[in-house]
């Protein structure tokens, strides 16, 4: 001892001997030594930390249960330990000595420090000891901190570290095929040692250590933390403990139930953990029951459960159950995503199964003697083949599960089969499953029925086909297109048979029977939005009426005599007219039919009935056809024909329809049939003036002006033509009037009226800027060279320059406004006149 003490220390030692309980003296003594602590860089310093420790030990012998002193000492030692100045076991002993000597007086922080120390060292045994002693000595409010430290350690350090390898192994996105191969190999060929190689005592201890704490913690943790604890428990892989705690935990929420089944009280993941634990613990019965219930409770998670179950069956070598499960699931799923995953799993399994066995048989000759492998290969090869060959069919099944009323899917299904008998099966299945009111596309369900019947018809099994057609006609379709399809196909098929015409007429007569109140029934159908069956309005089908009329007109030999046949056609047309469904073309056909029957006047009446029904545009077409026939006829008077023309033109012009053809027809009629040229020209003039306004039907009016002027010029000479030219030039827009100016000028020049011709061209020149009026200027240029002199030519050029300078803006605007010609040209003209009188025209030298 003397070796450690020096002269300075004697005074302290005496004082302590005199009064060993003098804490102040001890502290001074300690401080003195600490101040003399050997500096590694100072060779003269004497005190070592071991000496200070010795002094602390002496002090603590005097103050055995002084928590404060222990705290100070442990903190000092801990710093030393942290600085790697002694071994961990020594630090443990110091903590333990403190706890032993202080007992209940141990400061709370020392427990925490000790636990932190143990956690830091990952000493599971020590952690448990410290925790156990701490939890019994600490007050309840401090126990939470203790639990917090432990749980944090388990969640964040222990579980990720202890099971890191296995977790990683599961997390790797292993190719499913390889995974299945491994599973299959393990199930079929691996020895027990290979399977259980990973289990060892160390892991078991770790499992139990963690589960022990979690088991205790779940009893005191807040309800919101229960799921997390359960998840951690599962991660410990101490399934024997975990499953018990899972059961207890669930039982609490479920009341008196003794058996644990999935409930929505716990999350799906927790339930899934339970299922996996049942598998690990080989509790087969419970596994099946629980998995079944899990699917019921969490229908959206069926896929996960199915995949888990499938792999479970592989592990258990229950390959038949695997097949059954996958086939059942593929048949049940309504999701393309789920279907694809399950299908790939199934196919991968079959291929992996075959490959694994084949490889093993190659490597292990003794296995080849066992016939079971060949049988297995054969059956699984067939399954794999079925999966690949019938992929489209399975996909089609899925689509039908999604929507059995999608006709296109049924048609795709029919196309998958070659044999007629198979196609027939699909059609019957479709018809039984489809709800006609839920088919959204018009006519497609009717087409499906027709395709079904067509198979029988093509096989010459006509009666069966007829039965199908007739059944189809009883389906309450919401759309008439379906029924039209069925009726027309049936009729067209019957028509191909030798005596089919009568049957077709019978069918059409039946289809087109009109109800007592057609308008009422049509209104009801329209207002029902599919609730009233389309059979109610078949009588109103234009398609069927057209078919009936076409058929009747085609088959006169079927009737006893021609009169009956004609009467039947007329009756049919009249019925259709009564129902207001005849198209304009059918009216025209009706009129032609009557005309061909020698009933021309009746045919004219049909035209007149038609024009009373349709829109003005359609009326125009009908009037043209009607009047074209009338003008060739001799059975009605000229006055009547004129009255018809006037009536049609009056009505159609008022309705704003282009009547050019009618004006021309009328004009021709007067000229050619009656020799009234003047009237003919007047009709054209009337049309040229009144057939539309502005740009509406402008081209038609131009044609009528052309015809009108041409007729007048050739029949009545220049005087009448001159008057018409003036009217046309005044009436037509600037952009269209120049050709008439030129023709008019040409006409005057031809008559030696040179001055008049020049004035006309001058008038025309002022209508448009020269740059836009090149035709006129070229024409005038030639005209002056032929008929004029130097002076007139100069005047022409002067005018052109003036117009180029002064009319530019006004005329540009005016030229864009075709309908406003008179005002613009008048204004432009007036301005021009003014300019010409006030300006000083430049002299132009000509070289003629």
């Amino acid at each position: 001892m003397e070796a450690f003490l020096n002269e300075d220390d004697i005074a302290f030692e005496y004082e302590l001997q005199k009064d060993p309980q003098n804490l102040t003296a001890w502290k001074r003594y300690l401080d003195h030594w600490k101040s003399q602590l050997r500096d590694p860089n100072n060779k003269n310093s004497k005190r070592t930390e071991d000496l200070i420790e010795w002094l602390y030990e002496r002090l603590l012998l005097q103050f055995v249960d002084d928590g404060e002193l222990w705290m100070e000492y442990i903190t000092w030692q801990n710093d030393r330990f942290m600085a790697n100045k002694f071994k961990y076991s020594k630090m443990t002993l110091i903590f333990q000595k403190c706890l032993d000597t202080c007992q209940e007086k141990t400061p709370t922080d020392i427990y925490f420090m000790f636990l932190d120390f143990a956690l830091e060292q990952y000493d599971l045994k020590l952690i448990r000891e410290v925790f156990d002693i701490s939890i019994t000595r600490l007050k309840i409010q401090d126990q939470g901190t203790l639990w917090g430290k432990i749980i944090e350690f388990i969640y964040e350090k222990f579980l990720p570290l202890t099971f890191a390898d296995e977790e990683d192994e599961n997390d790797v996105e292993q190719d499913q095929y390889d995974e299945l191969q491994l599973l299959i190999y393990k199930t079929l060929f691996a020895t027990d040692n290979e399977i259980t190689s990973k289990n060892n005592e160390e892991t078991d201890f770790a499992n139990v250590w963690a589960s022990h704490f979690l088991r205790r913690y779940i009893l005191v943790c807040p309800p919101s933390a229960v799921e997390q604890v359960l998840q951690a428990l599962y991660n410990t892989k101490d399934y024997n403990t975990a499953i018990e705690i899972y059961k207890q935990s669930m039982r609490e929420t479920k009341g008196t139930s003794t058996s644990y089944l999935p409930t929505k009280g716990s999350s799906f993941d927790i339930n899934l953990n339970y299922l996996k634990m049942l598998e690990s613990l080989k509790l087969e019965k419970e596994y099946e029951l629980f998995a079944e219930e899990l699917e019921k409770q969490f229908p959206t998670e069926c896929l996960t459960v199915t995949i888990l179950k499938a792999k479970h069956y592989i592990k258990q070598a229950k390959f038949d159950q695997f097949e059954e499960l996958l086939q059942k699931s593929l048949k049940a799923t309504s999701s393309v995503h789920d279907f694809t995953i399950l299908y790939n799993l199934h196919l991968n399994f079959e291929q992996a199964f075959l490959e694994t066995i084949i490889n093993e048989l190659k490597d292990n000759k003794t296995l080849q003697t066992d016939p079971k492998w060949e049988e297995l290969l054969s059956s699984h090869f067939q399954i794999a083949q079925d999966l690949t060959v019938n992929y489209k069919l399975k996909m089609n099944n899925l689509k039908l599960r999604q929507n059995p009323n999608m006709i296109s899917t049924w048609n795709e299904r029919v196309a998958l089969f070659e044999a007629k008998s198979k196609k027939v099966e699909v059609y019957t299945e479709a018809i039984m499953k489809i709800d006609p009111l839920k088919v959204i596309t018009r006519g497609v369900f009717g087409k499906l029925w027709v395709s079904y019947a067509q198979i029988y018809w093509d096989s010459k099994n006509y009666d069966s086909a007829r039965q199908i057609y007739e059944s189809a006609l009883k389906v309450p379709f919401p759309y008439i297109e379906d029924l039209e399809e069925i009726w027309t196909t049936w009729i067209n098929n019957e028509l191909e048979l030798d005596d089919g015409v009568q049957r077709c007429l019978l069918l059409l007569d039946t289809a087109l029977i009109a109800p007592d109140h057609p308008d009422v029934i049509i209104d009801k159908f329209r207002a029902s939005h599919g609730k009233v069956p389309a059979q109610t309005i078949v009588f109103n089908s234009l398609k069927l009426w057209s078919l009936k009329i076409d058929l009747l007109e085609m088959v006169n030999s079927t009737f006893e005599n021609e009169k009956i046949w004609k009467d039947k056609i007329i009756e049919t047309y009249e019925s259709a007219i009564k129902l207001k469904i005849l198209s304009p073309m059918m009216f025209i056909n009706y009129a032609h039919f009557l005309k061909n029957c020698g009933r021309t006047l009746d045919s004219y009446q049909v035209y007149e009935r038609a024009v009373a029904i349709f829109t003005p545009e359609t009326q125009n077409e009908i009037w043209n056809i009607y009047l074209s026939e009338v003008v060739e006829s001799s059975i009605i008077s000229k006055e009547h024909i004129r009255e018809l023309f006037d009536q049609s033109l009056r009505h159609l012009i008022q309705a704003g329809v282009d009547c050019k053809a009618l004006f021309i027809l009328y004009s021709k009629y007067e000229a050619e049939k009656n020799g009234l040229i003047k009237k003919s020209v007047d009709i054209l003039l009337d049309g040229a003036k009144n057939n539309g306004e502005g740009r509406t039907y402008l081209n038609s009016r131009l044609t009528l002006w052309d015809m009108c002027i041409s007729e007048a010029e050739s029949n009545f000479g220049i005087s009448v033509a001159r008057e018409l030219y003036e009217q046309a030039i005044t009436a037509l827009p600037n952009s269209k009037v120049i050709p008439y100016i030129l023709k008019f000028a040409h006409l005057e020049a031809k008559s030696k009226e040179v001055t008049r011709a020049r004035e006309i061209m001058e008038y025309g020149a002022k209508l448009l800027p020269p740059v836009e009026n090149t035709d006129l200027w070229e024409h005038w240029d030639k005209f002056e060279l032929e008929y004029g002199n130097k002076e007139t030519y100069k005047n022409m050029l002067r005018l052109k320059r003036q117009l180029e300078n002064e009319m530019k803006i006004d005329t540009e605007e005016a030229s864009h406004n075709d309908g406003n010609v008179q005002f613009v040209t008048a204004a432009a003209s007036a301005k021009q006149q003014k300019t010409m009188t006030t300006s000083n025209p430049e002299e132009i030298e000509l070289d003629l």
């Binding site: 008998s421 039984m432 198979i455 039965q467 069918l507 007592d516 009233v532 069956p533 059979q535």
Partner: protein
């Protein structure tokens, strides 16, 4: 009418399966169009009697759920040819008697084994009239009771046979506007299977709708649907009332044996006696609304 003759129709039914009954049953009655063909007018407006009649009859129908029980006979192509022969012979007989003409047009029967549109149609032996039920539940209950009783009874699938075609008889509609040509069910079948079926139906109705069931109804039903159990083959619906009034005479005139032409064995139109009709009956049929239900007889 589509003639029953050998055309180029394929008779080899093996190539394609027959049309399943499920389809024919699902859509065997067309939508009721008459109920939409009514003007929306108030009763105070003076509209035609017909419209008013339609409305009231519709209302009556709408008040009840109905069921109609029968045995269905599915004629083969050969059966149809045979039936066609019977009808043709009867129509020929009608032509021979001036008293059976109406303004020069002879009475003519159209086959019931083809629909108006010409497709094959099943025939039936009616077992009840349209039975009205106050509620759908009551009708469902009747079907359940009937089904249970049929399941427990000793009737097995059987062959329904008819009396000779020479005994083909004439029947008239309730309102005397139609005539029917019918074949009687064989006495032996009536006494055995039909009798038992009738008893089951009786018991069922007595249990489910006692207010409808009465002794008089039972006697009437027994008389018409059992003693006179028949299968109608053809109908004539353009019969002048003058003819129907003298129904007995009409029956005699149309009787097969009363026609000298039929005594000539060499005549091609005579009915081949040996070709009697028979149908395999496996189910009892019940029409409800637009649906047909089947109650099978349990085979041995």
């Amino acid at each position: 009418m589509i003639e029953e003759r050998q055309d180029n129709e394929n008779t080899n039914d093996d190539q394609l399966p027959p049309i399943p009954d499920s389809i024919l049953n699902k859509y065997h009655i067309e939508p009721n169009l008459a109920k939409y063909d009514i003007e929306q007018t108030s009763p105070s407006q003076n509209k035609s009697t017909k419209v008013m009649y339609l409305r009231s009859s519709q209302r009556k129908l709408d008040q009840f759920w109905q069921a109609f029980i029968y045995l269905e006979c599915k004629p083969t192509r050969g059966d149809r040819q045979f039936l066609s022969q019977i009808i043709s012979t009867t129509n020929n007989n009608a032509k021979l008697h001036t008293s059976m003409t109406n303004n020069g047009t002879a009475l003519k029967f159209s086959p019931l084994y083809r629909s108006k549109l010409g497709s094959p149609q099943n025939l039936h032996v009616t077992l009840t009239p349209n039975i009205p039920f106050a509620s759908e539940a009551l009708r469902d209950s009747m079907l359940q009771v009937l089904s249970d009783k049929i399941n427990k009874c000793k009737i097995r699938p059987f062959v329904l046979e008819f009396e000779s075609a020479r005994a083909c008889k004439l029947l008239r509609s309730v309102v005397n506007d139609k005539l029917f040509l019918a074949l009687d069910v064989k006495e032996e079948i009536k006494r055995n299977q039909l009798m038992e079926i009738h008893e089951i139906i009786d018991e069922t109705l007595k249990k489910v709708i006692p207010e409808y069931y009465s002794q008089s109804w039972k006697n009437r039903a027994k008389d018409f649907y059992l003693n006179n159990a028949h299968m109608s083959l053809a109908e004539s619906n353009t019969v002048p009332s003058r003819m129907v009034k003298d129904f007995k005479k009409l029956q005699d005139l149309l009787s097969y044996n009363n026609n000298p032409k039929n005594c000539n064995d060499g005549d091609k139109e005579t009915i081949q006696e040996e070709n009697n009709l028979s149908f395999q009956i496996r189910t009892l049929k019940v029409d409800i609304d637009r649906q047909t239900l089947t109650i099978p007889f349990i085979p041995l």
